[in-house]
C-alpha cells in the first residue's frame, strides 16, 4: 500500500500532538433499535490504543444516522463515548459540539494519551458537503490527521477529504490500512488459483466489477439474481426470473471474452417458487409461511416459476471450486436470504469458509453490505472468517478498480521519506496599464488562491524608436525621455497595486524592461521560477469579436508554467469601449 499508516509516522510526530481520528460507528439503517455498530467501533480500537500508547492526544470524529446538518437529540454520540470508554478501559471525554470555542478549549486542556470524542459531525451541513470552512475549523483542532473509517472511504466528507487540505501528515488508521491491504493482496497479487464468487443483484453495478476482476481470476462463479441474465444469454430456461434485457448484449460480449480466459461457472440447480405466490407473499409484507418451494435440476426453470436460491448441486460445485483455491473473493448473497429457507445456500457456503477454508491457509475476502448482513444473521463465528469487510460500497469501488476518495486524500508513503517542498506560489503579472491588465489584477484573488503568494509585476516597454539622426540626440532630451518612461512605469505599477491591495495581495517585486513583450515575459518567468503567469485578454464584445492578442498567444504557446488568461466580461468591455470613444 502506498499510503502512510499511522504507525509508520515517527513517534515524536505523535507524542503530545493533537491527532484527529475519523472513525465510523454508524449502524446500518436496516437495524432498528440499534444506534451504533459495535463491530465497527471495535475495529478502530487498535488505532486508538496505539495513539494512547504513544502519548498522542486523540480527537475522535464520528457520526450516527442522517441528521441532515442539524442537531437531532437522539443522535448525540454520548452512548458511543460510553461504549468506547468501556472498551478502552479509560475515559473518553465527550463534547457537546464538534467545532467552535468549546472544542478548542477542551482540546487545549488535553494531556498526552487523552481521548476526546467530538459531537456527531453530521449535525453540521458542512460535513456531507465537504465544505472548506467546516473542514478548516476541524483542521484548527489538530496537528495530525488519521482516517480509520473504511466504510466511509468512498465519500468526500469534510472530515475525510476537506480536512486533509489543511492538516499534514494525513495517515491511514490501522483498520483502514488492513482493509486496503486485504483488497490489494487479492487484486494486485492474488495467490492463484483465485476463485471469485460474484452474486447478488444489480447487474449494472457488477458488470464493471466482473470486467475488472476478469484478468485476475482463475475461476468465476456468477450467482444470485445477477446470474439470470447470464443464463438467458446462454439460452437456458429461466422461468419468471428477472432479466436485464437492455444489458443482455453486454453480458453476451462479456461471456464471449471471459470464457477464453477463465472458467465461468453458472448455477446448475435452483430452489424455485411459483412467481404469483411469491409476489403475494412479498405484498403481504412477508407474513405467514413463505410459498412452497421445489428443486429444479439443470433442465431449466419452468415458466411462471421464480428462482429464490441455488440448490445443493450448485453448493457442491462451489465446494469443489474452493478445493485447492488459494484466494477466494465473495461478493453478494446467492439467494433471497432474508426469507429463512432461501438463505440455505448462502449459509452453507459461508459455513464452508468458516469451517474448512480459513484454517487451510487460504485467503478469503467477503464483501458487500448484503452479504455481510446475511452472514451476521446466520450467527456463524464470523471472527474466524479471515476477512469480512466493514465497508460495502468502498469494497465494490475497489473491486471495480476505482480509487477511494478518502484514501486518495491521505499522504503517500513517499511523502515520509521525500516530502514535497512547499514555498509560496510565485505569480508573474505582466502589466501595461490597459483595462485588460488591470482586470487581471482585479480578478486575481477571485480566480486563484493567491494568499501569501509572491507576486512580481513586469512592465515591458517598447524600445525607443529612434528616427534617423536621432541617435545623436542631446543628453538632456535623452534623460527627459528616460524620466518620462520611468514615470509611466511607476504609474502603471501604482494603478495595478491598488486592486491587488484591496484583495490583501502584496507585490514582492516590480521590474521594467525594454523589448518584445512576449519574449520578456517568458524570459522573466523562467528567471524567477514562476508558478503562474497571469495575463489579461479581450473578451467577446457583442458583434465584433476580438480574438486574443498576439502577446498572450505567444506566451500561451511557449510558457513552461501554467498560464491564466483573465477575460473581461462582455458587459464591461462594452462600457470601456464607450468610455474610450
Amino acid at each position: 500500500m502506498n499510503k502512510v499508516v499511522i504507525n509508520q509516522l515517527p513517534v515524536e510526530k505523535l507524542r503530545g500532538q493533537r491527532v484527529f481520528v475519523r472513525i465510523d460507528a454508524d449502524a446500518e439503517p436496516e437495524t432498528p433499535g440499534v444506534l451504533f455498530d459495535e463491530s465497527k467501533l471495535r475495529s478502530s480500537l487498535p488505532t486508538l490504543e496505539y495513539l494512547r500508547g504513544v502519548g498522542a492526544r486523540a480527537i475522535i470524529g464520528a457520526h450516527l444516522g442522517k441528521p441532515g446538518g442539524r442537531v437531532v437529540e437522539s443522535l448525540r454520540l454520548d452512548p458511543v463515548a460510553e461504549r468506547l470508554s468501556r472498551m478502552l478501559g479509560s475515559p473518553v471525554l465527550k463534547l457537546g459540539e464538534a467545532i467552535g470555542r468549546d472544542p478548542q478549549g477542551a482540546v487545549a486542556g488535553m494531556q498526552d494519551g487523552d481521548l476526546l470524542l467530538l459531537e456527531n459531525l453530521k449535525f453540521y451541513p458542512g460535513e456531507d458537503a465537504n465544505d472548506a470552512d467546516f473542514a478548516h475549523e476541524l483542521a484548527e483542532l489538530c496537528d495530525v490527521y488519521c482516517n480509520d473509517a473504511f466504510a466511509l472511504a468512498n465519500l468526500a466528507l469534510a472530515s475525510t477529504v476537506g480536512i486533509t487540505r489543511r492538516v499534514r501528515p494525513a495517515a491511514a488508521g490501522l483498520a483502514l490500512a488492513r482493509e486496503l491491504m486485504m483488497f490489494e493482496a487479492a487484486l494486485d497479487q492474488p495467490d492463484p488459483p483465485f476463485v471469485g464468487l460474484i452474486a447478488g443483484a444489480r447487474l449494472e453495478e457488477k458488470l464493471p466489477i466482473l470486467e475488472n476482476l476478469l484478468p485476475r481470476l482463475n475461476r468465476l462463479f456468477i450467482g444470485g439474481a445477477l446470474a439470470f441474465t447470464f443464463l438467458k444469454a446462454k439460452r437456458r430456461e429461466i422461468g419468471s426470473a428477472p432479466v436485464d434485457d437492455a444489458l443482455l448484449p453486454l453480458v453476451k460480449d462479456f461471456l464471449k471474452k471471459a470464457e477464453k480466459e477463465v472458467e465461468i461457472i453458472l448455477p446448475d440447480d435452483f430452489i424455485t417458487v411459483q412467481a404469483d405466490e411469491f409476489r403475494e407473499y412479498e405484498k403481504s409484507g412477508r407474513r405467514g409461511d413463505p410459498p412452497e418451494w421445489r428443486l429444479e435440476l439443470e433442465n431449466g426453470i419452468p415458466p411462471f416459476y421464480l428462482p429464490v436460491d441455488v440448490g445443493p448441486a450448485t453448493v457442491n460445485r462451489i465446494k469443489g471450486l474452493f478445493e485447492g483455491a488459494r484466494t477466494i473473493l465473495w461478493n453478494g448473497p446467492l439467494g433471497v436470504w432474508e426469507i429463512e429457507p432461501f438463505g440455505a445456500a448462502t449459509r452453507a457456503v459461508a459455513l464452508l469458509i468458516v469451517e474448512r477454508v480459513s484454517p487451510r491457509h487460504q485467503r478469503s475476502i467477503l464483501c458487500g453490505d448484503s452479504l455481510a448482513r446475511a452472514i451476521r444473521s446466520f450467527n456463524l463465528p464470523v471472527e474466524s472468517i479471515r476477512h469480512l469487510t466493514t465497508g460495502g460500497e468502498p469494497a465494490l469501488q475497489l473491486l471495480a478498480g476505482n480509487p477511494l476518495l478518502a484514501v486518495s486524500a491521505l499522504d503517500n508513503e513517499l511523502d515520509l521519506v521525500a516530502p514535497i517542498e512547499t514555498r509560496p506560489r510565485r505569480i508573474l503579472l505582466p502589466v501595461d496599464g490597459s483595462e485588460h491588465s488591470l482586470e487581471a489584477a482585479r480578478k486575481l484573488g477571485r480566480l486563484i488562491d493567491a494568499e501569501g503568494a509572491e507576486i512580481s509585476l513586469l512592465h515591458v516597454q517598447k524600445p525607443e524608436a529612434f528616427a534617423v539622426g536621432e541617435a545623436w540626440i542631446d543628453p538632456d532630451t535623452k534623460q527627459r525621455r528616460e524620466i518620462r518612461r520611468r514615470q509611466e512605469a511607476e504609474l502603471v505599477f501604482a494603478i495595478t497595486k491598488a486592486p491587488l491591495a484591496q484583495q490583501r495581495l502584496t507585490v514582492r517585486q516590480q521590474l521594467t524592461v525594454e523589448g518584445d513583450p512576449a519574449d520578456e515575459i517568458l524570459r522573466f518567468a523562467d528567471e524567477i521560477g514562476a508558478d503562474l503567469i497571469v495575463m489579461g485578454s479581450h473578451g467577446r464584445t457583442g458583434v465584433l469579436r476580438v480574438l486574443m492578442g498576439s502577446v498572450s498567444r505567444k506566451v500561451l504557446d511557449q510558457a513552461k508554467c501554467p498560464v491564466l488568461i483573465v477575460r473581461i466580461p462582455d458587459k464591461r468591455m462594452v462600457e470601456v469601449g464607450t468610455l474610450e470613444t
Binding site: 472548506a132 473542514a135 477529504v161 453486454l250 476505482n402 486574443m548
Partner: protein
C-alpha cells in the same frame, strides 16, 4: 464602490469548469486546478465526448442501451479518477456532466450555461476554447500541445 471594486468581492463561489477527455492530460489540468483554486471554488467536471450529438441530430442512429451503458461506465471511471485527484488535495467536484458532440463546442456551451468564471484546460491546443470562451481560462501545460504538433 465602483463596479470594478464590487467585482473584487466574492459574491458567491467561483464556478470552475474542468473539461475531461479521458486522456492522461486530464491529470495535469486537475492537479493545477486543485492546487491553484481559491478556497470557495466549486469544481464542475465535464466529460466532453467526441461523436455525433445525438440530442441535436435525432435522425442519427441512436446508441443502443448497451452502448449507452458502456459509455456511462467509461464516464464514471473518468470522473472517479478525476475526483480522486481532487480529493488528494482535499477537494471534490460539485457537479459532473457528460455530453457528446464536438468537444470545443460542448465546452463553450456548457461554460456559458453554467456561468463558469474559469475553464481549466490541460494544454493550449484547445485553441477554439481559448479564443472563444467568454470567461477566464487557466492552461495547465501551455507549451505541450505546440511541441507535439511540431514533431
Amino acid at each position: 464602490m465602483t463596479e470594478a471594486e464590487m467585482d473584487v468581492i466574492p459574491r458567491e463561489s467561483l464556478r470552475i469548469l474542468i473539461p475531461l477527455s479521458g486522456a492522461d492530460s486530464d491529470t495535469s489540468a486537475l492537479h493545477v486546478a486543485a492546487e491553484m483554486a481559491p478556497r470557495a471554488a466549486k469544481f464542475f467536471l465535464l466529460h466532453a465526448r467526441s461523436g455525433p450529438d445525438e440530442d441535436r441530430y435525432p435522425d442519427f442512429r441512436r446508441a443502443s442501451e448497451a452502448e449507452r451503458f458502456e459509455r456511462h461506465i467509461e464516464s464514471e471511471r473518468i470522473f472517479a479518477r478525476a475526483n480522486a485527484i481532487l480529493a488528494s488535495r482535499g477537494l471534490i467536484s460539485a457537479g459532473q456532466l457528460v455530453a457528446q458532440g464536438a468537444p470545443a463546442e460542448i465546452i463553450l456551451r456548457v461554460a456559458n450555461q453554467m456561468a463558469a468564471e474559469l475553464i481549466v484546460l490541460a494544454a493550449s491546443g484547445a485553441r477554439r476554447v481559448i479564443d472563444h470562451a467568454a470567461c477566464s481560462i487557466l492552461v495547465a501545460e501551455p507549451g505541450v500541445a505546440v511541441k507535439r504538433t511540431k514533431v
